[in-house]
């Protein structure tokens, strides 16, 4: 295949889709699939047939539009109508009224405009709109044109310059400048080189990468091919959690189709550039998402991180230069190439350009997957996009950045979301998890939960993380049982700082964050547990209380 062939497919497919007046996209992502999405797909197909509107209405499976809490959801184009909690019965009614008569069924619509109003969808540009199982859909939406541009009009150096100009930073958590990272690998003389796409989204409560892979796998693959072209790699690996079977299947199918079109493989689009991608499955280890952990895992070993330097850019997979990018970072690449780095740099804040996907969960009215420009405040995310606290309860804290993020109080809600501000406040961008906590939650218990997660996920190699975290968890447990001492607060702080500073890898270095931030912002709750044997949220001491009643 040649570049012209891809452009021709794009034209033909656009034309074909243009025949249809309506398009019904059924979300078949992990959020909706368990709740009858495939039945719904059939129901819509039958309804369209029954009402004889097959020629003007296309029914297709699609990825997630983000409103996961009201699934199964259906996106009806044109107009971007989202129907919520759709059942096969509702499907017939929707076809009859909306398609046949042209009148949307108001009572079934997701009537929450605020959810989308402040969002800006770059990474999720196609999510929910195209069929992830058809490469033609992606191509018709402008897919692979960035790759063509790179292969035909740009040198690897120009590609890297464009990425550098965009100010794009790693979306995996740490926020390292992507262009710089690419440059490190590109300048290495040692070959072969490898690229790795990190989709080991192990954080509980985070599903942005999964949704992206399920909704628009080719955006990841295209970004990855471009990165390989830029750094001169011939082999790539996508490392996916095995707990995401749908994402795995979607990616597998997408890779097959991309290969069939010669978008990966030998002599890609007759450019002389060779690049292959293999899938590698994780197996339930959060630590495998760490840069050196992922490398060990791809090599078939225990995913224990090793100290850096040497960095993967010089010594990665099998000791060769390796570029590791988060999949969200990669999905940002095609639009940057097409629209230019300057365009991208205007989005977000000067230091943190572009957008970020967040999984918004916990006690908010509109949980789901969102994408917002950098610099938006937490308040906007929680109270506008998220629609405020569930059941009108009081906001207490928000955990930003997954299990090793920080718990921020109400006074920090004005904080703009960018790497530096979050870090300063004791949280991290992390994997993009925002969990909203209301006044029914105990902050000691919250810190315990996340510490317990990290204790479970610690690889056990270094002492601070393996033993230090365990001790932090035990002290928290003691406090929750009413056996805490006032000295414990200082001890927790000391241990927290020690684990943060002395641990080998990112897991240990961030794992004390929930404890440290709850100590910083909710110290009074610790004091209440220790000196008054009282849990302000009424969560702890329950067992003891009920025992006393029994006696």
């Amino acid at each position: 295949m040649k570049p012209e062939d891809i452009l021709r497919i794009a034209r033909e497919e656009t034309e074909k889709q243009g025949f249809y007046k309506y398009r019904i996209n059924i979300c078949c992502s992990s959020g909706c699939l368990p709740f009858g999405a495939l039945n719904l797909l059939k129901a819509f197909e039958n309804a369209v047939k029954k009402f004889g509107v097959e020629s003007e209405c296309k029914v297709a499976r699609a990825g997630c539009p983000g409103t996961c809490s009201v699934g199964p959801v259906v996106l009806l184009e044109p107009g971007g109508y989202i129907y919520q909690n759709v059942t096969p019965e509702k499907a017939r009614e929707i076809v009859k009224s909306h398609i046949v008569a042209g009148i949307p069924v108001k009572e079934y619509l997701y009537a929450n405009e605020a959810f989308f109003k402040k969002q800006l969808r770059l990474v999720l540009r196609n999510a929910g709109k195209i069929n992830p199982m058809r490469i033609e859909d992606y191509i018709a939406a402008g897919g692979y044109q960035a790759l063509i541009k790179c292969l035909t009009k740009m040198t690897p150096k120009e590609v890297i310059d464009e990425i550098t100009a965009s100010g794009l930073r790693g979306r995996g958590g740490a926020g390292f400048p992507t262009g710089q990272k690419w440059n490190f690998v590109a300048r290495e003389k040692n070959t072969p080189k490898y690229v790795v796409a990190n989709l080991d989204e192990g954080d509980p409560g985070v599903f942005a990468n999964r949704t992206l892979a399920e909704a628009d796998p080719h955006s990841i693959i295209e970004g990855m091919i471009i990165s390989a072209y830029a750094v001169g790699a011939e082999q790539g690996y996508i490392y996916v959690r095995a707990e995401y079977p749908l994402a795995v299947n979607t990616l597998r199918e997408a890779l097959r189709q991309a290969k069939a079109m010669n978008l990966i493989g030998e002599n890609i689009l007759e450019s002389g550039f060779n690049f292959n991608i293999e899938l590698r499955l994780g197996a339930g280890a959060f630590i495998a998402g760490e840069e050196t952990g992922i490398l060990a895992s791809i090599e078939g070993r225990r995913a224990t991180p090793r100290p850096r330097p040497p960095y993967p850019a010089t010594s990665g997979l099998w000791g060769k230069p390796t570029l590791i990018n988060n999949v969200e970072t990669l999905a940002n690449v095609p639009p940057i190439i097409l629209n230019g780095g300057d365009w991208f740099a205007k989005i977000g804040t000067p230091k943190c350009t572009g957008t970020k996907c967040f999984s918004l969960t916990g006690k908010v009215n509109n949980p789901g997957l969102i994408e917002v420009p950098m610099g938006i405040t937490l308040r906007e995310v929680i109270f506008e996009i998220g629609g405020g606290i569930l059941r009108g309860r009081k906001f207490k804290a928000v955990l930003v950045g997954g299990p090793s993020g920080g718990c921020l109080p109400e006074s920090m809600l004005g904080l703009p979301i960018d790497y530096e501000s979050l870090t300063k406040a004791g949280a991290i961008m992390g994997s993009g998890g925002i969990v909203v906590i209301d006044d029914t939650a105990c902050m000691v218990d919250t810190a315990w939960f996340f510490t317990d997660f990290c204790v479970d996920e610690s690889c056990g190699k270094c002492v601070p993380c393996r033993v230090g975290l365990l001790k932090i968890r035990n002290i928290l447990e003691r406090i929750m049982k009413g056996e805490g001492k006032m000295d414990d607060i200082d001890l927790l702080e000391e241990l927290g700082v020690y684990v943060r500073d002395a641990s080998l890898c990112g897991l240990g270095q961030t794992a004390p964050n929930p404890t440290l931030t709850t100590l910083r912002y909710f110290r009074d709750e610790y004091v209440a547990h220790i000196s008054e044997k009282r849990c302000p949220a009424g969560k702890c001491f329950k067992e003891q209380a009920s025992l006393e009643v029994k006696e």
């Binding site: 224990t304 100290p307 610690s458 393996r466 033993v467 080998l504």
Partner: protein, 235 residues
């Protein structure tokens, strides 16, 4: 030694000449500057797990394990700040509290690197409660014994078995706090088909976790002997 280029670094304010390929630890050793170590052993690959040898490098807020961090020109290293001393003390206290390390009834008493380090740093008590583990002690082998209740998971035995003896009988199972050194498929030592009974694991064990039964500990844990064996690895 191959010809390698000279690297100028400063350790604790002293100018030190190092070579490309040196780690901070090897450069410091050559300059007779002491950095405490535990999981590190000359002749084995570096592990970077115990965090005792962490040092500060000027210009970075991070701490670096000196056993794995390569030197680079102009590097300024601090090996013994207030913070580092505090952290090392904490590390030792945590290791001591992870298992029921009871020196008075341990075969390694008086010949234990952990005990020596605790003394050196004045770790005179434990600030956190101990874990009271009750792992099985494997006494099946003719003379080698492994007591997991004393194991500090430094992986020296695993590395010696793999890198020096070349049989890789030992490895680590599970992860995190549940990590444990295993023999073959987590089997009794006696049923191991690959173990050559070479005793290198016992020689390198810094504590009393692996030892030779009915032998004075001073004899097994002859540091000079261990050094000798490790220095012959190329032969």
């Amino acid at each position: 030694m191959s010809v390698s280029s000279v690297v100028k670094i400063k350790i604790d304010g002293v100018e030190v000449t190092a070579y490309e390929g040196d780690t901070i630890l090897s450069a410091a050793k050559r300059a007779s500057i002491y950095i405490p170590t535990l999981c590190y052993l000359d002749g084995l690959s570096s592990y970077g797990g115990c965090r005792l040898c962490i040092v500060e490098v000027k210009g970075s807020p991070k701490l670096f394990p000196s056993c794995t961090t390569p030197v680079s020109n102009g590097m300024e290293i601090i090996t013994n700040s207030e913070r580092l001393r505090k952290f090392r003390k904490l590390t030792l206290g945590l290791i001591l509290s992870e298992k029921p390390h009871i020196c008075s009834i341990c075969v390694a008493n008086g010949h234990c690197e952990l005990q020596d380090l605790a003394k050196e740093f004045g770790v005179d008590h434990l600030r956190v409660e101990r874990e009271w583990t009750a792992h099985k002690i494997d006494l099946t082998h003719d003379f080698l014994v492994i007591d997991h209740n004393r194991c500090i998971l430094c992986a020296r035995c695993i590395r010696a078995c793999d890198e020096i003896e070349g049989v890789h009988v030992l490895d680590m199972k599970m992860r995190g706090k549940d990590s444990q050194v295993i023999v073959d498929m987590d089997e009794d030592w006696a049923s191991s088909r690959s173990c050559t009974s070479c005793r290198k694991c016992a020689r390198v064990c810094p504590v009393g976790a692996i030892y030779v039964r009915d032998k004075p500990f001073s004899e097994i844990k002859d540091k000079e002997m261990a050094k000798f064996i490790l220095s012959r690895r190329g032969l």
